[in-house]
Amino acid sequence: MSLLTGGDCSGWKEMSADEEKVFGTDGSKIYSYSNGSLNEIVSDVGDVWSIGILGNYLIYLSSSSTLTGGLSFSLGYYDVRDGTLGSIDDGVVSLYLTADKKLFYTKSDGTSPTACYWPASGSSLSPVCFTNSYWAGFTSLPVSLRAPLTV
């Protein structure tokens, strides 16, 4: 499938962007587009459900089929600086949230949940997890409490 050829973005199911590139997925592969050049950056990760930029990383949520006929969801990343690919976690079940330069999610081994966050910065890219716990939501500051915009 040709994506964004000649400015035609048909086929893009999900898009995201940083300051230099546009990223898109057709549901099975992830592409980057910059200066008229389209490159395939992620493939063979199963079905791609969602992508998003978090700091220097493109985060993706993908799924693969299980032996029992269900779906198993995984999170992975692509480092937009050097093209490195990596796995974040498997068994993801809910709350795919990026906030405060972190990625929050809940995973499960089928018997008990685990609440995790992945720091998209620093020397360690290992998830930090709280066993037998799950994220039950989040809340944002009302607009009136946010710091005023500076110009």
């Binding site: 972190k102 949940p113 716990s133 039950a136 939501g137 989040f138 809340t139 944002s140 500051l141 946010r146």
Partner: protein, 93 residues
């Protein structure tokens, strides 16, 4: 801008609900103890400190509606308490 996340710690006897600000993720002593001693799978929604949420009863599977003030300890309340009926939160734009 995110204000914080709600975290449920599951236990054999009772679950516990905490409000966790992003800067305190690694400092558990700073988590706000909101208390919750019922056997529900919870999910809250909203902006600011007053949130409505749903809890699925792990026995019946039916959902009740809950309220929580993330700025106040021991604040979770049952808005509905009808295990035999299924209720959900509706939002209007």
């Amino acid at each position: 801008m995110i204000k914080g996340l709600l975290l449920v710690k599951k236990a054999t006897e009772e679950d516990t609900l905490y409000f966790v600000e992003p800067e305190n993720l690694e400092n558990e002593s700073a988590w706000r103890f909101l208390e919750f001693d019922k056997d529900f799978i919870l999910g809250f929604y909203g902006v600011g400190n007053c949130l409505l949420g749903q809890g699925a009863n792990s026995q019946s599977g039916n959902e009740d509606v809950f309220f929580v003030d993330t700025d106040r300890e021991n604040s979770p309340l049952n808005v509905t308490d009808t295990p035999s009926e299924d209720e959900e939160v509706g939002f209007m734009e």
